[in-house]
């Protein structure tokens, strides 16, 4: 992504600029027309909701609309930050996200490095086909698969537990297991697909480096440590910054399918909370405030992460 040049202070365009612009538009008129549907789409479906955020600072009433609803300033945010419920929801979001980052972020990197060592194509190709596949399944299907596997009535996992002399576990209704269930099913679904980006980066590492290392007597492990990993660092960094931006999006679509009132206290995250308070209880303004909090934190983290990365490592996503 190109970086915007900001060193030129804004100047009023000279008349010749307009003439050139008009010439360009006349010459490439259909190119500019092709631009319009996309821009219209963005303005209507993406930027209008951004304007709609103002209801977080109003006492929004559906009949008065945005224009006539009374302004309340930061009242909803004050309520939000004092609410013990929100504190719990925030903590759940944070915990689930951190668990997912710590356990699942390194997984595709490891898998990709190991996958790269498979030399027999008749084995590697089918493995790739199989491990990419869960990415293409919906959360409804994935949770259906695991509900089935972990069920108390004839689920295979509980049968093994019973066979080994244990008590069956109600995984989906157990507060001490539910977060692990979220993390492991997310790993099952996305870890294989996540390798694609790293495999691409691996294929662009110069094979001569490995040849040279071999001549110098470096074994496989040393080659991975000194050539493969350093070669992956830019991509890892990029993926990490992107991942950081969604730290408060702990997997709403996943949780909405998998959770139930019994495990709300460990699994209710910002996204599910917004859904229930906003659309369920029609607390539009309050829920928008919660949503805005999530968006702003995500934005700050991704822009900040990128800034730090550019500043100290000279690399960034833009």
């Amino acid at each position: 992504m190109a970086r915007l040049k900001l060193d030129n202070a804004p100047r009023l365009p000279s008349p010749s600029y307009w003439r050139k612009l008009r010439g360009d538009i006349r010459k490439d008129w259909d190119l500019y027309i092709a631009l319009l549907p996309g821009i219209a789409f963005l303005l209507l479906f993406k930027y209008t909701p951004m304007y709609g955020i103002v209801i977080a600072f109003q006492d929004f009433n559906i009949f008065s609309g945005i224009g006539d609803s009374p302004w309340v300033g930061f009242e909803h945010f004050e309520r939000l930050f004092q609410s013990p419920k929100f504190a719990q929801v925030f903590w759940n979001t944070f915990m689930i996200s951190v668990l997912k980052i710590v356990l699942l972020f390194p997984l595709p990197i490891v898998l990709a490095i190991l996958l790269n060592e498979l030399t027999k194509m008749w084995f590697k190709r089918p493995v790739q086909t199989i491990i990419y596949m869960p990415h293409f399944l919906s959360w409804v299907i994935v949770s259906g698969l695991f509900m089935d596997l972990l069920s108390v009535n004839g689920g295979l996992v509980n049968r093994i537990i019973e066979w080994m002399g244990g008590e069956p576990i109600k995984f989906f209704l157990d507060n001490s297991f539910f977060r692990w269930l979220l993390v492991s099913t997310a790993g099952w679904k996305e870890a294989g697909w996540g390798t694609i980006v790293y495999l691409a980066a691996l294929s662009s590492i110069d094979p001569q480096l490995y040849e040279a290392a071999k001549i110098d007597g470096a074994n496989k492990f040393k080659q991975i440590l000194h050539i493969t990993l350093p070669g992956l660092v830019p991509v890892i960094l990029l993926m990490f910054i992107l991942r950081l931006g969604s730290i408060l999006e702990a997997g709403t679509e996943q949780i909405l399918v998998m959770y139930n009132p019994v495990v709300y206290n460990v699994s209710d995250v910002i996204g599910t909370y917004v859904y229930r308070t906003g659309l369920g209880e029609q607390n539009y303004s309050f829920a928008s405030a919660v949503g805005l909090f999530e968006s702003v934190v995500g934005f700050v983290l991704i822009v900040g992460g990128n800034y730090i990365s550019r500043r100290f490592l000279n690399r960034g996503i833009w």
Binding site: M1, L4, L21, D24, D28, L31, I33, A34, L35, P37, G38, I39, F45, K46, T48, P49, M50, Y51, I62, L111, L114, L115, E117, K120, F123, V127, I130, I131, Y132, M133, F136, S138, V140, G144, L145, D148, L149, S151, V152, N153, G154, L156, K170, F171, F172, L173, W188, G192, V197, A200, N219, K220, N260, G271, Y275, L279, Y284, G291, S295, V303
Partner: protein
């Protein structure tokens, strides 16, 4: 000749590989066999359950192979009018959404792939910004309400016609095509849009196959939008239908008969039927995906590595 070359290569690699490396390789192959097995197992288990009798499923005697084999569950699912209606809704959304999405995305990507376009950086920033920040669920919902799109099928694909991520992949792919093609077509008097649809798109089929798959899977798998916007049961797509089927009945199963949810009492679908429904709903993806794999690996690489 070829044979000789192969044996030569073999002996060379055999000499080069130390004992430690050979052990590593063996474990690596075993590891990936295990990973693949873990990925496939839930499916095979589900397939076996869908083909077994309900008694066998409930008693827990089904793992990899069906017990008391029967096909009645599939007949039941395929003749269930609610299931089939939901299936048709999903097919409609996926087809309409993918077709419109590809058209809109290609149109958006093409001008942005031309460095000569005025304000190109601004327009790209306009797209990218929507990836970093969004209005959020509630303002979006209220907008759909204002546009009278709530409880219509339109709302399931119009707001997600252009995925910025996909647009950037296509844009990067277009940029990687040689410029000479455009120049020679320009000489022949072709307009930009003619060049796009006659030359650029046909040359970009791998990336379009990839993006088509992404859109189709996205529309097919979406349950969230329909859960928010759709109330009429005739308009519910397959994933939402399945979600209601699975979630309601599984709460009782998980609880081993202790009912925690009132809905659950009324909605207990036999497990074999649930299993068959899940498999039928997954089938379209499983049929299409392996054929497109060679394209999407290439397509994603070109798009994402440069982006």
């Amino acid at each position: 000749m070829e044979r000789q070359w192969i044996t030569a290569r073999r002996t060379r690699s055999a000499i080069r590989m130390s004992v430690g490396e050979r052990i590593f390789h063996v474990f690596n192959y075993l590891f990936f066999a295990l990973v693949s097995w873990t990925t496939l197992f839930p499916f095979l288990n589900l397939l076996a359950k869908s083909l077994s009798s309900e008694e066998a499923v409930m008693s827990g005697s089904v793992s990899l192979f069906p017990v008391d084999i029967q096909f009645g569950t599939y007949l039941y699912v395929l003749s269930d009018s609610q299931f089939m209606r939901a299936f048709l809704v999903s097919v409609t959304i996926a087809l309409a959404g993918t077709a419109l999405g590809l058209l809109m995305t290609a149109l958006a990507a093409y001008p942005l792939s031309k460095p000569r376009l005025r304000g190109r950086k601004f327009f790209i920033l306009m797209y990218v910004f929507t990836m970093l920040f969004s209005g959020g669920l509630i303002p979006t919902y209220l907008l759909m309400q204002r546009l009278n799109l709530v409880d219509t099928l339109w709302v399931l694909f119009l707001p997600s016609m252009i995925s910025v991520f996909n647009m950037l992949i296509i844009k990067n792919y277009f940029e990687s095509l040689p410029e000479e093609l455009e120049e020679s077509a320009k000489m022949d008097g072709a307009s930009n849009l003619t060049i796009l649809f006659r030359i650029t798109v046909p040359l970009s089929l791998p990336v379009f196959a990839t993006i088509a798959l992404f859109y189709a899977v996205g529309f097919w798998n979406d349950y969230f939008a329909s859960m928010i916007y759709i109330n009429t049961s005739e308009l519910k797509p397959l994933q939402l239908y399945l979600k209601e089927l699975l979630v309601h009945s599984n709460i009782t199963y998980q609880d081993g008969g202790h009912v925690t949810n009132v809905d659950a009492v009324m909605n207990t679908t036999p497990q074999a039927i649930q299993a068959a429904s899940i498999l039928v709903a997954t089938l379209p993806i499983l049929l299409v995906y392996p054929f497109l794999q060679k394209y999407f690996v290439k397509g994603v690489l070109i798009g994402s590595v440069k982006g």
